[in-house]
Subunit: 163 residues, 2 copies
């Protein structure tokens, strides 16, 4: 029962972006680096049975890059938008995890992903995980336990270490 | 202020080893994989200003491989032996960190390394970190705070992801 929390790649600077915050896209470097991360995950034999993304452009682009690399089929999932609540998706997750059996990936934003990871592993959030853009958190759950506070952390990595 | 906790590489099976437990060595695969990890760390530009190891053979061999890769000068440090206590080295560490300024690496054993990491980051140990052989934990400390409970986790990785 593996859950991967993946932060979107490097996006355009908020201060230099005139459009809607919702639509702020990845930079060219963000595209490239995310593609490299995706190729690396693929070469490690990873495939997500479910690949959900925040509906914001920078996250969707990240999930599409993962999809193009053959890692899974990207789907929008609104609870992953910024300031989403774990409680809004954890029940869905537990059902999905039991049905699919394979690894699940959620593409989203900081500080939400780090907060969620801490709640899933330690039962509470203390803002102690540093997750860079296009970085990945990996959590393993026992098959027979409820999720909150029962995960174990097996991966925390930024692209620098992966590429 | 970066601290790296590095678990020794794959060692001979305890049940098939007739010698002293203290002297149980790395296997051939353990040597090779640790060399690959060391080369990868070197290629990332890492260098430890201090590189301390548990005095047990499997840890010392791991630290020597890191030294041969040019990552630092290996030194024995008995508090890193199995069942060592964080309290026996944290004061030394805080002095060393201030003097050296560079990243410090400690080579040792599970479950000690995972326990220490949780205490340094969250202030208490809940056995929530999965650290494989030749795997690495990275913790960052603010310059002006005491260590216990004030670190942030920026890296948790097994060789599979690094190679």
């Amino acid at each position: 029962m593996e859950l991967y929390l993946i932060r979107h790649g490097i996006a355009r600077d908020r201060r230099q972006w005139d459009g809607e915050e919702f639509e702020r896209p990845l930079t060219e470097k963000g595209h490239l680096r995310t593609q490299q991360v995706a190729a690396r995950l693929k070469s490690l034999g990873l495939r997500f049975s479910t690949l959900l993304t925040s509906p914001l452009t920078r996250a969707k682009q990240t999930a599409e890059i993962l999809q193009e690399a053959g890692l899974g089929q990207s789907q929008d999932f609104s609870p992953l938008a910024p300031e989403g609540r774990l409680e809004d998706w954890i029940e869905w997750y537990s059902q999905q995890a039991e049905e699919s059996g394979g690894p699940i990936a959620l593409v989203g934003h900081q500080p939400d992903l780090g907060n969620w990871a801490e709640k899933l592993v330690w039962g509470e959030n203390n803002a102690k995980l540093i997750l860079k853009k296009a970085g990945i958190i990996g959590i393993e759950f026992p098959a027979d336990r409820p999720y909150l506070g029962h995960g174990q952390l097996f991966l925390l990595i930024s692209p620098k270490w992966l590429l």
